[in-house]
């Protein structure tokens, strides 16, 4: 103390640095005999503040320092936004302050501040937190605990005015609660003007004894049972508010009060009012215990809560206390202390405890009302910013105040989420804070149910009649969905997946410590997806839609963005509109295989992540791509102020003329991947320009008075004009386009403003050649700057483009002719347009109403019911007789050469009973074609993607090739193509409903090839949990195999197995050697007996002949064998490897029987006899062309086919076999061929043919030891 320098406030303010200081450093604290040397030392963290906050501690001063000055009540000399806080002045400067262990006597006295925090503040220089202090005048210390002393509320200019008889009442009791300061307008007695008098209410549980005796010791046998209210009235008395607030919970006495009867809600209430002679008698200071953890004292719904502040958000309206405990300080009138900072220990008295279950999790809300008072018990040791009430009362805060606590909390979360839409400075339309408030209010109003609104009764009602005014009744369950920023949302699922991953790793390491967990991810897992529905997630996302540089449609906010897949969308031109996405599926692509079958953890979402999105440090081992698949009509616009916007929209239409064109094809983006083709940055679409132009007759008045809402637009309001067809139409319709068609035009603006106007479709005039007579097909080129348009355009959609001298269609040309290449200009605007025809005007699903262009309703479509509401920018109502004309232009593009329905094929296949049907294996890239380029008819159709398989082959060239299995009209269609990674579309994969445009038919039934001009559009995605496994049902397989009725060979299977003929053949010399299987050459599988009862036995099938290509280290042989030996080499008695994806369904189905033989038997039993042949001409390329032939009327399912082919790699990956072989001559081969009715084709590979007599497994170790022994002995 002696060494301490005395700092002035000026020094502190001028430095402008947050510091902490004390009269003594380190050791002296102990000698100071105070047990309360708590939060001062910056290095001592409060015990239970288990914070993961990364707060900086306040910088301590390097030398001991004290501050000397006086504490005073708030006055007008210093304007602080928080209004009622203590002031500290050293004579030179005055700043705001807060003080621990406050005593009334300190007011006005000169004190020495022994330890303190100083925080700079913009408003009034700084804020001083007084931790320890003492009176400068040491004599006063004696009276510290005496309780004696009285403080007149008015400055005692006039010592005694006790003569006033009215002001003779006194109240003595426990100060229960204090209200915030409010202003009451009242009539001054002397003048007739009304004056605004500030004041506040205090609730005291008083003792009923008549008079307060100054001599009576506090703590006597008073019974504090009577509820009394004291109103502190007037400007001067109100300045006592911070001092009285410090006394809540303590014993006080007030004398010199007068009684007043007030009327609150019809009830009369006795209130004591302060007078000029009122005197405050402060209590004795009793030592409190240091509390270092959360203390909750609850009585009913109200109680007090003591805890550390973990975060202050939204200008102090939302304070995070403990995990999932949130303090709401929404009432604007509430007094927020500067010292409520992150890290401070606060005591909240008389706060509402509202346990609320939201759809995303449970939260304890501490709702502050007018009775609530907050005192800071310990100041925060961190350098965190002070709370400053800067926001004024606005419509949002008024709105929030009218809600129940859970709804208030929700609305604040929305507000904090919208915070993320802070405008990028370059944007013209910056959503300023107040606009965001408006937006929040509008959005919240539309979401919050009416019962969550709560009428407010004003400060007197709510304070004095707290229990009865409804402040108690709270709705505890709340089905409001959490609104989250995209980054928090994605972050949440990343964290969840990581947790799941670590759990899996733990499990797998427990099971099998040798398995290398990380290697499992390295596989190409792009088709492993998992989908979660929005109902399970319970989160609403808000964002703007944009198209990213990579060409994907994304929902983005300031924090992040997420890929979006949407069935239909307004061709939205304004990137500033905020959409609400509530109905969606979250698609997680690229999950590890092991994760697919794990149930997802249900982590409740933390509100903290919403208000304070801090990227957690996650070791990102997963590369999971997230995307959203939007449900129909899920993407609502959050309505905001767009009046400028729609007026601008409508102005565009005023008297304008528009080109009409229809998109017939979009060519995919060519991204540096096509060999032999130069890099092309432009994208192209094919369009048909209709020989009509739209002349719009919107006038100024029309534009000025648009209608709201979709449904009550058009016809009822406006006298419906019967649209007349020009007389010429009747005559010329058959030949060409009529000159003029009048129609009715409805223009929709984004904010549900609608405008109905008359318009005319007239023959398009061209500069030189006069009228354009027929539709022209053109190629539109979009330079990269226009690629937004490219994404938004839909094949089959019609669009309007403003006609002018400088538009894309007119600029620099006299007329449009077929196959013109037209560059799209970046400044051009497009509107989507739809047509409906006069006869049926209703909008609910009538056939005649648009969409004309969409396909016929099929089963596929019914699963994804499209929105009944029209969603184009402009709709045109045309006379019915124009329909014929338009149907030529608007013919369906989605069903070109569509595969036949399954029913037609049924007859054909049933004819092929007992035919040996041969199924061609998937060719490597393109089904064989004789010509250099593939030939065939182009087709377009829509279907459900069942599976996307990489065409497995050991040949490197074709490994990038894919086969897409699509279900169209209940039949599987295979589409082959180089679907490269970069062109991999968002959301594409099993479960997607997609339309394939211009794919090439191969001439083979239900086989198509994607060409470089083909385009895939994804219509929707089904929610699916995990992989969709193809059922081996025969229906699905009906159209799979190609029926070639050429090789009908009746098989006579009687007689001994083939091997018997050779087992006795001892003429041949038998050689034993260790061999490795290189490939399977031929495999014949058949049932042993036709008797079905015998078929129940295990392994009731036989391999009468099998050919393997084997290598014994010195040469390669074609080794033929049969029966058990073939079983051994094929490893049929071994269990199926579990990880094998292709056979997963088999193991699942019969989990009890795991061997390969068992599953093979199921197939053989159905098909009686199966011949599998590898037709390649080289050993390496044997797998390229595998044929599987079956002898039954059943067709081979895709899965069965896969399984049979899987036998080959399974055999190759087997161990070394010791084979005793003998050579075969031509006679033997011919005999075998005759007997087995197969062509063995032994000469193709030019290998020596041998017969395997014995097969046994070689243990390499045993072999090695025996070799070693042999060598050592020799």
């Amino acid at each position: 103390m002696e060494n301490a320098t005395i700092l002035t406030i000026k020094e502190l303010v001028n430095k402008g640095r947050a510091v902490t200081g004390a009269s003594s450093l380190f050791s002296s604290a102990a000698s100071h005999s105070s047990s309360e040397s708590s939060s001062k030392n910056p290095n001592s963290r409060p015990g239970s503040f288990d914070s993961d906050l990364t707060c900086k501690f306040l910088a301590p001063l390097s030398h001991p320092a004290v501050i000397v000055g006086t504490i005073s009540l708030p006055s007008k000399t210093l304007i602080c936004p928080n209004r009622y806080c203590f002031r500290f002045s050293d004579g030179d400067l005055t700043i705001c302050c807060d003080i621990l262990r406050f005593e009334i006597r300190a007011i006005g006295s000169k004190i020495c501040v022994l330890s303190w925090n100083f925080l700079p503040m913009k408003h009034c220089g700084g804020f001083l937190e007084i931790i320890k202090w003492k009176f400068m005048d040491t004599g006063n210390l004696l009276s510290r605990c005496s309780g004696i002393g009285s403080f007149p509320l008015f400055p005692s200019l006039f010592p005694s005015r006790n003569g006033d008889r009215k002001s003779r009442y006194c109240v003595h009791g426990v100060l229960e609660s204090i209200s915030p300061v409010s202003v009451v307008s009242c009539m001054d007695g002397e003048s007739s003007d009304s004056v605004n008098l500030p004041g506040f209410l205090v609730h005291v549980m008083a003792c009923e004894c008549k008079a307060y005796s100054q001599n009576a010791a506090v703590g006597c046998s008073h019974a504090f049972e009577k509820s009394a209210f004291v109103y502190f009235c007037g400007l001067v008395v109100t300045s006592w508010h911070p001092a009285i607030r410090k006394l809540v919970g303590r014993n006080v006495a007030l004398s010199g009060l007068k009684k007043k009867m007030i009327y609150v809600r019809g009830d009369s209430l006795l209130v004591f009012v302060t007078t000029e002679s009122s005197v405050l008698h402060p209590p004795c200071i009793s030592k409190k215990q240091i509390v270092l953890k959360t203390v909750v004292d609850r009585r009913g719904n109200c109680g007090s809560y003591l805890g550390f502040v973990k975060g202050v958000y939204l200008k102090g309206k939302l304070v995070e206390m403990d995990e999932d405990v949130w303090l709401l300080l929404t009432d604007q009138i509430l007094n927020r202390s500067h010292s409520i900072r992150t890290g401070s220990l606060i005591c909240i008295r008389n706060v509402h405890f509202v346990n609320t279950k939201f759809s995303w999790g449970e939260v304890l809300i501490l709702g502050a009302c007018f009775k609530t008072s907050i005192t800071v018990e310990f100041f925060s040791p961190f350098e965190t910013s002070c709370l400053v009430d800067s926001c004024r009362q606005n419509s949002l805060s008024r709105f929030i105040e009218s809600l129940s606590f859970p709804a208030r909390f929700w609305a604040l979360l929305v507000r904090s989420c919208l915070q993320k839409f802070n405008g990028i400075p370059s944007e013209k339309e910056i959503l300023r804070s107040c606009q965001k408030d408006e937006l929040t209010k509008m959005y919240a109003e539309s979401q919050i149910p009416s019962f969550m609104f709560q009428p407010r009764g004003g400060i007197f009602t709510e304070f004095c009649m707290h229990e009865s005014c409804g402040c108690n009744s709270e709705a505890h369950d709340c089905n409001l969905k959490l609104v989250m920023s995209i980054s928090s949302f994605v972050q949440h699922y990343k964290v969840m997946l990581n947790e799941l991953l670590s759990q899996i790793n733990k499990n797998s390491s427990a099971n099998n410590c040798l398995s290398h967990s990380s290697s499992t991810w390295k596989r190409d897992n792009h088709t492993n997806t998992k989908t979660l529905g929005s109902d399970d997630i319970g989160v609403i996302l808000l964002g703007k839609l944009k198209i990213s540089s990579s060409g994907r449609l994304q929902l983005h906010d300031r924090t992040s963005s997420i890929d979006v897949l949407t069935p239909d969308l307004l061709s939205d031109r304004n990137a500033h509109r905020i959409f609400e996405v509530s109905d969606y599926n979250l698609i997680m692509e690229g999950l590890p295989e092991s994760m697919l079958h794990m149930p997802f953890l249900h982590n409740s979402l933390r509100c903290r992540n919403v208000v304070n999105p801090t990227p957690l440090a996650i070791e990102n081992t997963l590369t999971v791509r997230f995307s959203l698949s939007l449900g129909t009509g899920s993407c609502k616009q959050v309505y905001g102020h767009h009046s400028l916007d729609w007026r601008h929209d409508l102005n565009e239409f005023k008297g304008g003329r528009f080109h009409l064109f229809r998109l017939t094809h979009k060519f995919p983006m060519l991204k540096n991947g096509h060999p032999g083709m130069p890099d092309c940055t432009s994208v192209f679409v094919e369009a048909i320009v209709l020989p009509l132009e739209l002349i719009c007759s919107v006038t100024e008045e029309d534009a000025a008075a648009p209608y709201f809402g979709e449904h009550d637009t058009s016809q009822e309001i406006r006298p419906h004009k019967r649209c007349k067809t020009n007389n010429g139409l009747q005559r010329e319709r058959a030949l060409s386009v009529p000159h003029e068609i009048s129609c009715q035009m409805t223009i929709r603006c984004a904010s549900s403003h609608c405008l109905v106007s008359a318009a005319t479709l007239s023959n398009l005039k061209e500069k030189k050649s006069g009228n354009m007579l027929s539709a022209k097909r053109v190629l539109l080129e979009f330079i990269p700057e226009c690629s937004n348009y490219y994404q938004a355009l839909q094949i089959g959609g019609c669009y309007l483009m403003k006609h002018g001298t400088n538009d894309s269609f007119c600029a620099g040309r006299s007329g449009i002719s077929n196959n013109d290449k037209i560059s799209f200009r970046p400044e051009t605007r497009l509107w989507s347009v739809e047509f409906s025809f006069d006869e049926d005007l209703t909008h609910d699903g009538s056939v005649d109403v648009y969409p004309l262009v969409s396909s016929q309703p099929s089963l596929v479509e019914k699963q994804h019911v499209s929105s009944p509401q029209p969603c184009s920018d402009v709709s045109l109502l045309l006379p019915y007789d124009a329909k014929g004309l338009f149907s030529v232009f608007l013919k369906n593009l989605e069903e070109l050469n569509k595969p036949y329905a399954a029913g037609k094929n049924n007859n054909n296949t049933s004819c092929c009973t007992h035919l040996e049907t041969i199924m061609q294996a998937e060719p490597s890239l393109v089904p064989p074609s004789n010509s250099l380029f593939p030939e065939g008819n182009l087709a377009s159709f829509r279907g459900d993607v069942v599976a996307v398989d990489a065409v497995t082959s050991s040949v490197v060239d074709v490994s990038s090739s894919y086969c897409i299995n699509v279900l169209v009209n209940h039949q599987i269609v295979k589409i082959f193509g180089p679907l490269r990674r970069h062109s991999y579309l968002t959301g594409f994969g099993p479960g997607a409903s997609a339309t394939f445009y211009r794919i090439l038919g191969t001439g083979e039934e239900n086989r198509f090839v994607l060409t470089s001009a083909s385009f895939i559009k994804i219509n929707s995605r089904k929610a699916s949990d995990g992989r969709q496994l193809e059922k081996p049902a025969h229906q699905a397989a009906l159209c799979l195999p190609k029926v070639t009725p050429q090789e009908y060979v009746p098989c006579m299977l009687a007689g001994p197995p083939a091997c018997n003929s050779f087992s006795g053949n001892k003429d041949n010399q038998q050689i034993k050697s260790a061999c490795k299987v290189l490939s399977v050459y031929l495999l014949v599988l058949q049932t042993r007996s036709d008797d079905p009862s015998e078929n129940e036995c295990r392994n009731n099938f036989d391999i009468p002949l099998a050919g393997f290509v084997v290598d014994d280290g010195s040469s390669v042989y074609l080794c033929w064998t049969s029966g058990e030996r073939a079983f051994t080499i094929l490893r049929l008695h071994e269990a199926l490897p579990e990880e094998d994806i292709d056979v997963a369904q088999w193991t699942k189905r019969d989990s009890g029987r795991e061997t390969t033989a068992y599953h093979l038997e199921q197939i053989v039993r159905v098909h009686k006899r199966i011949v599998m042949k590898c037709n390649g001409s080289q050993i390496d390329t044997l797998f390229r062309d595998i044929t599987v032939a079956v002898t039954s009327d059943q067709l081979l399912a895709k899965s069965e086919d896969t399984f049979l082919k899987w036998l080959i790699p399974n055999a190759i990956s087997g161990p070394l076999w010791e084979v005793a072989r003998s050579s075969m001559d031509m006679k033997m081969i011919a005999h075998l061929e005759r007997e087995q009715c197969v062509e063995m084709d032994t000469s193709r590979l030019n290998l020596q043919n041998v017969w395997g007599n014995e097969v046994s497994q070689v243990d390499p170790l045993v072999r090695a030891w025996s070799l070693l022994q042999g060598l050592l002995n020799s």
Partner: protein
């Protein structure tokens, strides 16, 4: 690798690698086998152990070898003796996982191989 003449990695067991051993020389090429006891990703130094002896392996030049403690690995490389500590470290040229190897058999094979090479060398000398 100042030595342009890089020799073949002579297969040895770790027990044979003691300071007075003929293999314990700077820049001698060796083929060593042992169980991976530890591996530091930061320094790319692993420690293999066999028969109670251990050796540090510098794997910074290796690619496509995934290291798992507890597996058996074989490395070919040059021995480097850090003078200050007199401690040997193998600068691995190549390495592989040889899980499933029978170390007893391997030791015997190494002996047999040496014996064979010695005889071969002797017979060459005679000629």
């Amino acid at each position: 690798m100042a030595n342009s003449q890089m020799g073949p990695g002579a297969p040895i067991t770790l027990q044979e690698l003691y300071p007075s051993s003929p293999f314990y020389k700077e820049a001698v090429s060796l083929r060593v086998t042992g169980m991976l006891r530890g591996y530091s990703v930061e320094t790319a130094i692993g420690v293999i152990e066999d028969g109670g002896k251990s050796l540090r392996i510098n794997t910074q030049n290796l690619r496509d070898v995934s290291f798992r403690v507890g597996s058996i690995y074989q490395f070919i490389g040059e021995l480097h003796i850090e003078q200050s500590y007199n401690e040997a470290i193998l600068q691995a040229r190549t390495g592989r996982n040889v899980d499933g190897i029978d170390m007893n058999l391997y030791r015997k094979t190494v002996e047999l191989l040496r014996q064979f090479l010695k005889e071969e060398g002797n017979s060459n000398m005679v000629e």
